[in-house]
């Protein structure tokens, strides 16, 4: 049996450049992404509370590592206690909706002697009524969106379920998008591992040794943090920090960027004009 070729031999310059560009995008996305998923989900539960005029709204996501549904974000006067609560994925209303994909609404739940009281009381708030809809797409269930206690009504209607489902769909799209970004690095790692394996891409990634993978990752990403990219990274980092900015600061920034962009456009168009003029000569 011939010895496996060194992985770097099998990657031509084009492939390396492609990998470099994937790695670059992944790095940028990773720097920008930190906290973005949570921010989007928080804005969705805040919008849900406002739309329904509800006491609380929350989103629980399935954590495969713990095999639990974990309440990640919540909004509303009665919502905060639930954050961090973890439940089994087949227990309670949230578990049922997560497991079956069937949305439902319940009211007068306090009449039920044992229904989820332990979990509900742990949050400091036991709802009179709730609607729970799955965060679901064709790739499966991600979690559950719950809305508790409409102030204007003792129960949720069928239309409320449908409206909550629209919000749940937004949340699902947001989570999928940010997970794609977050998974970019591991995707790159997996692809490289497959490329590095002696049998080519058909072998499982585990066929490559960590050392070969590390070598290819190093080759592919060698220039990313070099001097050429320094200015780009500085901008990326600053954009990421803008999440803390208040609306006034964002307006100011937008104005500054607008001025810079207009100036750049003017200069580019001047360059084009002078280029054309030279061409005529």
């Amino acid at each position: 049996m011939s010895p496996a070729r060194r992985p770097a031999d099998r990657l031509d310059a084009d492939a390396l450049e492609l990998l470099r560009s994937i790695a670059r995008r992944g790095s940028i996305a990773r720097r920008l992404e930190d906290g973005a998923e949570r921010a989007v989900l928080r804005s969705i539960v805040e919008a849900t509370v406002a739309l329904f005029d509800a006491e609380a709204s929350s989103i629980a996501l399935f954590d495969p590592g713990r095999n639990q549904l974990v309440f990640e974000v919540a909004a509303g006067e009665q919502g905060q206690g639930v954050i961090g609560l973890a439940i089994a994925p087949d227990q309670g209303i949230a578990g049922y909706v997560f497991t079956t994909g069937q949305p439902l609404a319940l009211s007068e739940v306090e009449r039920d002697a044992r229904f989820g009281r332990g979990a509900a009381e742990a949050t400091g708030y036991v709802p009179r009524s709730l609607v729970a809809v799955p965060l679901i797409d064709d790739s499966g269930s991600l979690g559950v969106l719950e809305v508790l206690d409409k102030r204007s009504s003792a129960a949720f209607s069928l239309r409320d379920i449908e409206l909550a489902s629209v919000f749940a769909r937004q949340a699902t799209v947001a989570i999928r998008a940010s997970r794609v970004e977050r998974d970019m690095a591991s995707l790159l790692q997996g692809t490289l591992a497959a490329l590095a394996s002696p049998g080519g891409t058909t072998d499982p990634p585990s066929a490559a040794t960590p050392a070969t993978v590390a070598r290819i990752v190093e080759l592919a990403t060698r220039d990313l943090d070099g001097d050429d990219e320094g200015r780009l990274w500085a901008i990326v980092d600053r954009v990421a920090r803008l999440r803390q900015a208040d609306p006034g600061e964002l307006d100011l920034l937008a104005e500054i960027l607008e001025v810079v962009a207009r100036r750049a456009e003017r200069r580019a168009s001047q360059r084009r004009r002078s280029g054309r003029a030279r061409g005529v000569e």
């Binding site: 399935f62 495969p64 095999n67 089994a88 994925p89 087949d90 227990q91 309670g92 209303i93 578990g95 049922y96 997560f98 497991t99 079956t100 994909g101 069937q102 949305p103 439902l104 609404a105 319940l106 009211s107 007068e108 739940v109 009449r111 039920d112 002697a113 044992r114 229904f115 609607v131 809809v133 799955p134 679901i136 797409d137 064709d138 499966g140 269930s141 129960a155 949720f156 209607s157 069928l158 239309r159 379920i161 449908e162 409206l163 489902s165 629209v166 749940a168 769909r169």
Partner: protein, 273 residues
């Protein structure tokens, strides 16, 4: 936001929109009394594929004759084991059982608990539960759940055919989330969405599938876990109303096929208006 943005299988069955269901029926109106008066579901077995059924709940009337739970064994194969305690881990299956028992008090009930604790395998658990219910000779199976897994499509398609050919009527809640879901959207399955008329004896037939029947599913007083009750809304509470009616039809006409039961349900449905 426009109505067209909403995942609204229930839409044809609610309020003014019901008028779209008005049609001239090929068989005319079948006399409801002739079909249902005196029918009690005796001799019929209804499987409730759900979160379990609480055997001692008063709403179940002592009619739970068998209870199993589907779980993965150590080889990750779904297996069936008896659930001697006959519990409901959520309350939902007991709610369905109570609705069915309320309509068909003499029907036997069998609980098939399929809420796998692992998200990844739940389609397999559900399919194994359905397969078991069909093999054990259930007359009607109530499915207030469905799977969206493409990988499970052929499995559920095969099971839906098997049920049809062995004379087991599958009654499934329409899934109100956009996109395909199995087996609720298969032609041989009775797919049910909720209407808002507070009456278990009001149901509508929708000539524009995939969702063919609308039944009581808004603010339904249901049995719940721990001997309790709740008021519930959702397609999953509409399905057991149709399952209960199907049990009555099969009790009266034990030889009726799924096709005939569906026809009788359509011919005895309320005309809108």
């Amino acid at each position: 936001m426009s109505d067209s943005d909403l995942p609204a299988w229930s839409e044809p069955f609610v309020g003014d929109r019901r008028s779209s269901l008005l049609r001239s029926r090929p068989l005319g109106d079948l006399d409801r009394a002739a079909v249902f008066d005196g029918a009690d579901g005796a001799g019929v077995t209804v499987a409730i594929i759900d979160s379990g059924v609480e055997r001692d709940h008063p709403a179940v009337g002592g009619k739970l004759v068998r209870s199993v739970v589907i779980e993965f064994d150590e080889d990750d194969e779904p297996t069936v084991r008896p659930d001697s305690e006959a519990i409901d881990v959520v309350g939902h299956g007991t709610a369905c059982a109570g609705i069915i028992h309320g309509l068909a008090p003499a029907a036997d009930l069998v609980s098939v608990r399929v809420l796998g604790p692992d998200n990844k395998g739940k389609g397999q658990i559900f399919a194994a539960g359905l397969e078991w219910a069909i093999a054990e000779g259930a007359t009607v199976a109530n499915l207030s759940l469905s799977s969206r897994s493409e990988a499970m499509f052929p499995v559920f398609h095969d099971l839906a055919d098997r049920a049809y050919f062995t004379n087991c009527l599958l009654v499934s809640a329409a899934n109100n989330v956009q996109g395909a879901s199995y087996p609720s959207l298969f032609a041989s399955v009775v797919s049910v969405a909720a209407h808002d008329v507070a009456d278990p004896w009001t149901w509508f037939y929708n000539p524009a599938p995939p969702v063919e029947f609308g039944a009581y599913g808004v603010d339904v007083e249901v049995a719940w876990k721990g001997g309790g009750h709740a008021v519930a809304t959702g397609n999953s509470f509409a399905a057991p109303h149709i399952a209960g009616l199907a049990a009555l039809i099969r009790g009266r006409y034990p030889e009726a096929t799924p096709f005939e039961v569906k026809t009788i349900l359509a011919a005895t449905a309320n005309q809108p208006g």
